[in-house]
């Protein structure tokens, strides 16, 4: 099993969700986060004054999938999230040691 964490542009979330649904992904967790990468924040202007925004709003997705699906999921996220501009985000893939479905008590890949 793999645990996939993706940090993407908030406005690409719907496109990514659609791409993952098309792939048959059964569920994912989304949180609103802030951070910076090479983009190094951004500048906003209010009443002519520049404000440095150090942490830019992003959306973080967490998805647990079987190892065989991992590459396809990473590809789908990239496809949905990519705008070609700086700040599109990153995808990380981690090994996942265990899982349990709380309602039934199923363990391992059956729980996904």
């Amino acid at each position: 099993m793999k645990y996939i964490i993706a940090v993407i542009q908030p406005h690409r979330l719907d496109a990514v969700r659609q791409a993952l649904a098309d792939l048959g992904v059964q569920g994912l967790t989304v949180s609103e986060v802030r951070g910076f990468g090479r983009q190094k924040g951004q500048t906003e202007i209010y009443r002519g004054a520049e404000y440095k925004i150090q942490y830019v709003p992003k959306v973080k997705l967490e998805i647990a999938v079987s190892a065989s699906m991992a590459d396809a999921v990473v590809g789908a996220i990239g496809e949905g999230a990519r705008t070609g501009r700086i700040g599109d985000g990153k995808v990380f893939v981690l090994p996942l040691e265990g899982a349990m479905r709380v309602r039934t008590g199923e363990m391992g890949a059956d729980a996904l």
């Binding site: 202007i45 209010y46 009443r47 002519g48």
Partner: protein, 402 residues
């Protein structure tokens, strides 16, 4: 003799002007600070409104509007000791008392914009109380209460000097003594809720109809024209800011547009009862442009953290309106006409005399008040409290429990 129509309009106008402060100005300012200081701004405006109301009843009204002193009124109407059916012009004196109270409320509340995010609550209360009696009340008496500037012939219809200049210059001085917010100018947090600022600005705009058209103290042609020019000036100055930002940054901002509206409203205020709609276009155009430039000059050239631009928007707008009133009040330019035998130049000199007198008085007396408050209560919160935000550390609440 009480006129029912006039009375009905003035009661309405009084409600409109109170609505400018509660919640208009509070929301306008509240949206511009960071989220951890929202409640402190709302609380300061709310507290000042209540405090001034009581002080106005106790002696503020009497010292402003009774007696025939040149410098200050007398104490004959302390606690509003007038007969129930007392008349002021064509409206009940109680209504005049309430209408003027709402002006006395919003003026010190305007100053909040200079010291947001860093002033001690006790110092805010003490400063506002002293400032009401020592700056607002004398100046209001000089110009509206039959004092020396009224006798001189200063034309300040709804408070370019009495409200906007007194608040603007006192605000700047307080900002200087208090010092800038931590991180100013490049690392302060941006406005936390521009939508809230827009909402507050709209309440101010609508409330300003009561402020300017109510200052006619009657429900007739003067009120109608005051309302018209007020609206046109606000709309024009809004467009000015939108154009400037669109050209300069490529992005016209919401915060900029509503700030332009307030600049246009402040600029037309002293002129609103004296000029015509053509003049309102010019006053909105010049007021909007000048206030924009002054925001840059004060914050960036001078490096003064008048945080929400009280002087640049209110003080400068009000002062400009005072000067332009001398020109556009002339009958040949669509105004109601200057006093008999008086030229535009002559009126301009009178306007400038009033402007300089109010400026000097506000600066000198505010400085003394600030020093007294500093000695008694201390002006500034500790760096720890400033970093944590005033809401939780001073008021024990959060603006957003999410």
């Amino acid at each position: 003799m009480i006129d029912a129509g006039n009375t009905a309009w003035l009661i309405t106008a009084t409600a409109l002007v109170l609505f400018m402060t509660l919640p208009g100005l509070a929301l306008f300012y509240g949206g511009l600070v960071r989220a951890e200081n929202l409640l402190s701004v709302l609380m300061q405006c709310f507290t000042i409104a209540s405090l001034v109301s009581v002080l106005w009843l106790v002696a503020g009204y009497s010292l402003t509007f009774s007696g025939d002193g040149v410098w200050i009124g007398d104490l004959s109407k302390m606690l509003l000791r007038v007969p129930r059916d007392a008349v002021s012009g064509t409206i009940p004196e109680t209504v005049f008392f309430m209408f003027q109270m709402t002006f006395a409320i919003i003026t010190p509340a305007l100053i909040v914009g200079a010291f947001v995010e860093r002033m001690r609550f006790g110092a805010v209360v003490l400063f506002s109380a002293l400032w009401l009696f020592l700056v607002y009340v004398p100046v209001a008496h000089w110009i509206w209460g039959g004092g020396w500037l009224a006798e001189l012939g200063v034309m300040d219809f709804a408070g370019g000097l009495v409200v906007h200049l007194t608040a603007g210059v006192s605000a700047l001085l307080l900002a200087v003594v208090l010092g800038p917010r931590a991180g100013f100018p490049h690392d302060v947090k941006p406005p936390h809720a521009p939508w809230m600022t827009m909402t507050g600005a709209c309440m101010l705009w609508v409330g300003w109809f009561g402020f300017n058209a109510g200052s006619a103290l009657s429900a007739g042609a003067d009120a109608g024209m005051a309302m018209t020019v007020t609206h046109i000036s606000a709309a024009t100055a809004t467009l000015v800011w939108i154009v400037i930002e669109a050209v300069k940054f490529g992005k016209p901002s919401m915060v900029g547009a509503v700030t332009g509206a307030i600049a246009g409203l402040a600029s037309i205020t002293p002129a609103s009862g004296y000029v015509g709609p053509g003049a309102a276009l010019v006053i909105g155009l010049v007021g909007g442009s000048l206030c924009y430039v002054m925001v840059m000059v004060i914050k960036h050239r001078f490096g003064i953290d008048d945080s929400l631009d009280v002087l640049a928007v209110h003080g400068i707008g009000g002062a400009l309106g005072i000067v332009l009133t001398a020109i556009f009040a002339d009958a040949t330019l669509g105004g109601i006409g200057l006093a008999e035998g008086r030229t535009i130049g002559g009126q301009a000199l009178i306007q400038l005399t009033g402007l300089v007198a109010v400026l000097i008085w506000s600066v000198a007396v505010s400085f003394i008040i600030i020093k007294v408050v500093q000695a008694i209560a201390g002006l500034r919160v500790s760096p720890e409290i400033e970093e944590q935000g005033l809401d939780l550390s001073i008021h024990g609440e959060r603006g957003y429990n999410m």
